[in-house]
Every structure is written in C-alpha cells, then in structure tokens.
Symmetry: C2
DNA sequence: CGCTCGGTTGAGACGGTTCAAGACGTGTGG
DNA sequence: CCACACGTCTTGAACCGTCTCAACCGAGCG
C-alpha cells in the first residue's frame, strides 16, 4: 500500500537520519539497509493525531525520528491509561499481529519513519540480524514494562513523580555525557503535557502539581517552568522515589537511547541533531504537516 | 556448567514432556530439538524457593513443566510487587542479559526444564526458527504486561478481582475446550496463595476477601473453597471487571496455553497430563524435591 | 478586552489500607 | 482422642492518601 504509494528508494534520506544509529537500522547490513529504505517513508504527524487506533489493523510499523508517541488503552467507560511512551530512535507498531492491542497517538508533533508492516516483516525474514535486534529490543521493553508495574503497583504518587524526574534527568545526563562533562546544570525536562503525564503515572494533574511544588518547597528541585526542573538534591530525590539506585539502570537504557553501547559512537553529533527533538515541546501546538 | 554436570542426552525425557507442544520446543526442527535436549535437565523446586534472585547473574533459562513461578521486584523498604506469573509451558529467565531484573521464585511446587543461558543462546543462534518463536512469545508477553498496566493503573480493586476470576475461568474453559463441551460447571481456579494474589493485583488479602464475598453475596459467583469459584453470572462479572469483552483476548493467549493455534493439537492429552498441575495447590506445603 | 487553556490551590468525600480481633480448618503432640 | 497451636481467611472500625469538585490565576490570542 505504502510501497506503491511513493517508492522512495532514497538512501540519502537515511544518511540524513538523526536517529539512524539508534534504531534497528544500526545493525542492518548494507543489503538490509537498502531494503528498509525501499519500504520506508517519512511522515510528519501533529500532536494529538492518532497513528493507529486501538484494536485497528496493524497496518504499519516504524521508528520515531523526532517527538514522542504515546501508547494508550481505554476502558469502555472512558478511563484511559498511557501504557508506554515512544521516544526518538525507538520502534513503534506491532509486528506479527493482525491488530494492535493499543492506540498509538502523537503526544507531541512527531516525525516518523513509516513502513508497511508486512513489508517490514519480509525484510526481517530475509535478514536474521534484524530479527535478533528486534528480539533484544523487545526483551528490554518487556523488562521496562514490568518495572512500570512496580511503579503503578507499589509506589505512591510522590514516589512516581520523583521517579519520573529521575528518569528525565537521566535522559539529559546521557545526552551530555561527554560534552561539557559535569559542567551543565542538572535539568530534568518533560516533553509531554501534564495531562499525559498524569495518565502515564496513573494519577491526576492536581496531585502532580502538589508534589512538584512540595519538592520545590523542600529544596529538592527548582521549577524553571512547567516542564523543566533543576535537580538541586539528587540523593534526596532518589530517596524520595523509594527506588534502589540500581533500579534506575533499567530506565537508563530504555527511552531515547536504544541500548547502551551504541550511544558511544554517537557523541558529538547527538547535540546538533537532537536539537529539533528537544525544542519540539515549544512548537507543540503548531502544525508541522498533514497526515 | 550444567552441561558438564550431567549431560542428559535423553530425548525420551522430552518425549514424555507434558508441555512440549506449547513451549519453544514445539517449533524446533529435529536437530534443534536434540540440541535443546542435550543442554537441558529437569528440576523440581518446592514452593517458596528462589530460582533466580533479583539482580543475580542470569545463569539459567528454561520452561515451566508444572506449577507456577512468580516474578517479583522488591523496593528497598520491603514493598513487593509480583510483576508476572509463569505457568506450565511458558518460558522463564532472561536471555541476552548478564543479570535478571526480577526475582524468579516458585509460587507453588514446580517442575522445571532448565538450561544454561549461554548454551540456550548458542542453540538459538544456530536455529533461526527458535529465535523467531522467542520473538513472537516476547511480543505477546509485552502486550500482556501492558494490559496489566491498565489493570494496575485504571481498575479499582473490585474490577481487578473480577478480571482475575475471568482470566482463571478462561484458562479452565480452554482446558476443556472440546472435551465435555459446555457440560462442565464454569469454575475459576486460582493456583496461587491469597498472599501472592494480593501482591499480583496490588492490593491486600483483606480487600480481596471482601470483594470475593461481595461477589458471592450478589450471586455472581459461588465460593466452592478459598481457591475455587463457580461463575454463576458471567456477563455480570464481565461488566464488573470494567473491561471490554475483546480485552480478554489478550489474557486468553497468554498464561497456561502458549499462543492459540498450537492448543488444538493438544486436546485429549491435556487433561490427564495436566492433572498434577491442577492438584499441585493441594500438595503445596509438602516438599517434592531438593534444589 | 474577554476568551480559552494549562496550571495551582483548597475543602470535602471516598476507596482502600491498616490494625485488631475472631473464626475456621488442619496438623501435632500429649 | 482431645487440646493446642498455627496459618489462612474473615470481619469490623479507624485512618489516610488520593481523587473530585470548584474556585482562582496567569499567559496567549482572536
């Protein structure tokens, strides 16, 4: 469907890809990379739009190039839970199933690399290294999902907020891992709306607001604006999260960075190329394209 | 390590395996099956014992032959969450990682088919059909884990109890899918202790007790004993769970039965061979072997 | 200017936990 | 065989965290 639509045998597009080294493409041999390029196309989607509806046909899969996707599940009476966020470089969609179990929606304006699901599966079938990479990614996602069960099941709302700040901070720290080492401020940045954050942490915007201001009042963080927070007392924040230090390891490798080792090869480029992602929160309401 | 310990090139053991057709072994070609048999051995573990401790070396992987494993994660202050239950025919352990993120413990007396992790990975690397099967299983597990996030994040405690009963009922219904079709009573059986159930649903044994008795009082279920419940009003129970009917589909394919199609080939044998599993709850306190 | 929208703050209500006591069944030892 | 102890489950009452509802605030915008 998408193949015939617009072939796009355009490898230069992949050469310019900001997240190429963090997606499944990173391990693709030359032939596989060409095959993937042939079946993929980029697509911009404004915040709020649905990419795949709950229980709809699993027509496409792909990678997030910029922005954040949310995976949601809704109960018949309207209660909604965000069961996952998908950051740049991460894979989205449901391979090997006719339907998707969850809705995939743009939480911010996003740029996607989209492929027809069956075409993608065909490429994977011909390239074992892709299948292996997909397996590794899925196993990491599974561990991450289970860690989130602990968050939803055991941690109180203050601990959840503290955990979220720690994870957002971790993202930033990794981003500036070698450049300006230890020089910059420790700032946690949230790319999603408060409403989405409430759903993600399974609480309300009011409760989040109260806890954020409580953390500010006791001097653990400084509120820069409603989506950026300077962490003044890291150890205190960690204690308030209720987690063990090593539990953060799980969060570290998941969103925004693919799995560990690959990141090293990226330093330097990551800053300039990441810029649009980091600023996307500011341009969130402006429409950047059409579905 | 395990290989040299006791070679066990014993395919007759696999021929006698009650869950062979529901594990990863089901798709193994002859050569792969022999390789798996060579690196595996069966092991009995009494209820309560730890198979792999949290953050310990991921030394082994395997399949559950009988009984139930629980995966748990514990916060520094002692709060514990059961992030998953592993039923007969299901895979356990953490391939492609040096450590396990969660503890694996015997929730009931269990019988396991155990393999050295690295040996297993080596067999998988030589047999693409195994890797593909592992990927499909992991993707299903991931969808199931996310469905559980909805349960922990959105459903109240009554809805969680109702959902659990529906899932347990679903197990039984599938078990007797063709034999005695529609003849038997609709009975939901819980194999785990109330304490584990409370942790799994992230509530307390008191709350579960209250809800179970409430459901009994309003005539939705009949309490046979503390672990068996006859479902008298299925539609009512479904309504009380807050879920859409199609959400149960996700639970259907997960625990106890592997993925759909394979089950068909099992009918008939499943009853006699499953017996020890179903009665294991009664012999729970008796030790059936040594670690 | 007044609208909407996102966020903040307060007061009250409610669901679920906690604590404590009692009931039940089961295995053990006198 | 009974008495006792123990673990599991049940039931009640008080307590607490979080949600709900509502009012308020400030920024951006037509």
């Amino acid at each position: 469907m998408f193949e015939s639509d617009k072939p796009h045998i355009d490898n230069s597009r992949c050469d310019r890809c900001a997240v190429r080294d963090r997606t499944v493409c990173a391990v693709a041999h030359l032939a596989a990379e060409n095959e993937l390029a042939r079946v993929s196309r980029t697509r911009r989607v404004p915040a709020g739009e649905t990419i795949l509806a709950e229980n709809a046909e699993a027509s496409i899969v792909g990678n997030v190039l910029a922005g954040v996707l949310r995976m949601t599940k809704t109960l018949p009476d309207g209660r909604e839970q965000i069961v996952g966020l998908i950051n740049p470089g991460e894979f989205f969609g449901r391979p090997y199933s006719e339907t998707v179990e969850f809705a995939y929606e743009a939480a911010t304006d996003v740029e996607l690399c989209v492929m027809d699901r069956r075409s993608f599966e065909a490429v994977v079938a011909r390239n074992p290294e892709l299948e292996h990479e997909l397996l590794l990614t899925t196993l990491d996602d599974l561990a991450f999902a289970r860690e989130r069960m602990l968050l939803l099941g055991c941690q109180n709302t203050l601990e959840r907020v503290a955990t979220y700040l720690l994870v957002m901070l971790e993202h930033r720290e990794q981003l500036f891992a070698d450049v300006a080492l230890q020089e910059h401020k420790r700032v946690a940045v949230s790319a999603i709306t408060r409403r989405d954050l409430a759903s993600y942490l399974s609480t309300t915007i009011e409760t989040i607001s109260r806890h954020i201001h409580h953390l500010s009042r006791i001097g653990v963080i400084r509120i820069i604006d409603s989506s950026r927070f300077e962490v003044l007392a890291y150890e205190m924040l960690l204690a308030l999260s209720g987690l063990a230090r090593e539990d953060l390891r799980l969060f570290r490798k998941a969103p925004l960075f693919g799995r560990g080792p690959r990141l090293v090869a990226l330093n330097g480029i990551i800053q300039s190329r990441q810029t649009p992602v980091l600023t996307s929160v500011k341009t969130r309401s402006s429409r950047i394209g059409h579905f």
